[in-house]
């Protein structure tokens, strides 16, 4: 499977010098599918590799370099829009990694801008953003009510000129999820950057990445999220991490993510974290489920996790109601 090939190459870039064409093709397809092509390009920098492969990686680097500019500008535009409110604005995920110049940000593709603000100021923030040119993406009464009642963020806004989305969070997991991280503590203990914007402190940043990987999503794009976690564990270490994770109810998730990062990317983790867990194998299978064309194989692995992610976010009765409403609107999972 090419997911394993991608993980092995990120872990040990030197081995790429010996790859033949089919191996390169599988690697590039998997790296693109997992949105890790820019990261791969950074990792393989300076390795003597085939010219055709090098060209592709050079393009990928140029592309993520430009993505970095756009992401940082989106953060700056947001800062300008909110500067007079005196609200702490915490950058999350990819934008935070590049704003804080972390290794997880190198070559990382960044989509939407995610910010965390205090829940009691979210309406003020919403108004200021709309004032500055952001608009609702799709006014759909059901989705809108769903977001506001159950999610951990506003319905997404998009900037009318720049065509970029912003997700305004007031906590890091949906209110329906079984785990309720302490968002107030995250904001209170965040780190202020030179421009006044903030990022989470190292331990919270890891906790958030772990929550995003294991307690929120369907593991789609999981290799990328796990790579972020690998970079952060490697850069920040695990000092104080377990205690902080316990505050957010994420200590078991943090340990699992650390075990998975260790298994895939060789991340250094404390000896007593390296326990055996029978469920890890299933997560690993899903994380690495890509064939030589970048497709998820076998299919059931993907669908199993689609149900699982909704299960985690919503209690069963609510899940049934949600799927029913989506179903009636003609939205069917594949």
């Amino acid at each position: 499977m090419s997911g394993a090939l991608l993980a092995a190459t990120l872990r040990d870039p030197a081995q790429a010098t010996g790859y033949d064409a089919p191996t390169w093709n599988a690697l590039i397809a998997a790296a693109r599918a997992e949105q890790l092509i820019g990261t791969l390009a950074h990792r393989l920098d300076g390795q003597g590799i085939s010219e055709a492969a090098q060209r592709i990686l050079t393009d990928a680097r140029a592309s993520t370099d430009q993505g970095r500019i756009l992401a940082l500008w989106e953060a700056e535009a947001c800062r300008r829009a909110l500067v007079t409110l005196n609200v702490p604005v915490v950058l999350l995920k990819g934008t935070a990694y590049v704003a804080a110049d972390m290794s997880a940000g190198q070559g990382r593709m960044i989509g939407d801008l995610d910010i965390l603000v205090p829940r009691d100021r979210i309406e003020t923030v919403e108004h200021a953003l709309i004032e500055a040119g952001w608009e609702w993406v799709k006014p759909d009464p059901y989705d809108d009510a769903y977001y506001r009642q159950w999610m951990h963020e506003l319905p997404p806004l998009i900037h009318r000129e720049r065509d970029r989305m912003i997700d305004v969070h007031h906590t890091i997991l949906p209110l329906t999820a079984q785990i309720t991280p302490d968002a107030d503590a995250m904001i209170r203990d965040s780190v202020t950057l030179a421009n006044g914007l903030r990022v989470l402190n190292p331990q919270d940043m890891i906790c958030h990445a772990v929550a995003h990987l294991l307690a929120d999503g369907d593991l789609a794009g999981g290799m990328r999220n796990l790579w972020d976690i690998h970079c952060m564990l490697s850069g920040f270490g695990t000092q104080g991490l377990e205690e902080r994770a316990r505050l957010h109810g994420l200590h078991r998730h943090v340990r699992r993510a650390a075990r998975l990062a260790n298994a895939l990317y060789g991340t250094a983790i404390p000896q007593d974290w390296r326990t055996r867990d029978s469920v890890d194998a299933l997560f690993k299978k899903r994380l690495l489920a890509r064939d030589g064309w970048g497709q998820v194989r076998p299919k059931w692995v993907e669908h199993g996790f689609f149900i699982r992610s909704h299960w985690l976010r919503m209690p069963p009765a609510m899940l049934a109601r949600h799927l029913w409403t989506k179903w009636r609107k003609g939205h069917r999972p594949n």
Partner: protein, 91 residues
Amino acid sequence: MGVVRYRAAAPDTMRLEPLDTMTAIYHRASGRTHLVASPVPEILTALEQGDATVQQLLDRLAAQYDLADGEAGALTARLAELEEAGLVERA
């Protein structure tokens, strides 16, 4: 609130390429290109001397160009556009 002062993006973050009557501007900080006509390049150049209010900016422009009366309104409108584009911010 005091009088608004405007600040242009740092000159080294902007690439200005005059193309006949238009000027293409690449803004390195935002990664975006803007195609503008006079007096926008002149406004940006005038702001290089330092942050300015609308009136100060008018004075700087009047020292170099023939300005008609009632330019303050037009200048304010151009500044608002430049602010939205991110090429100018409030100091």
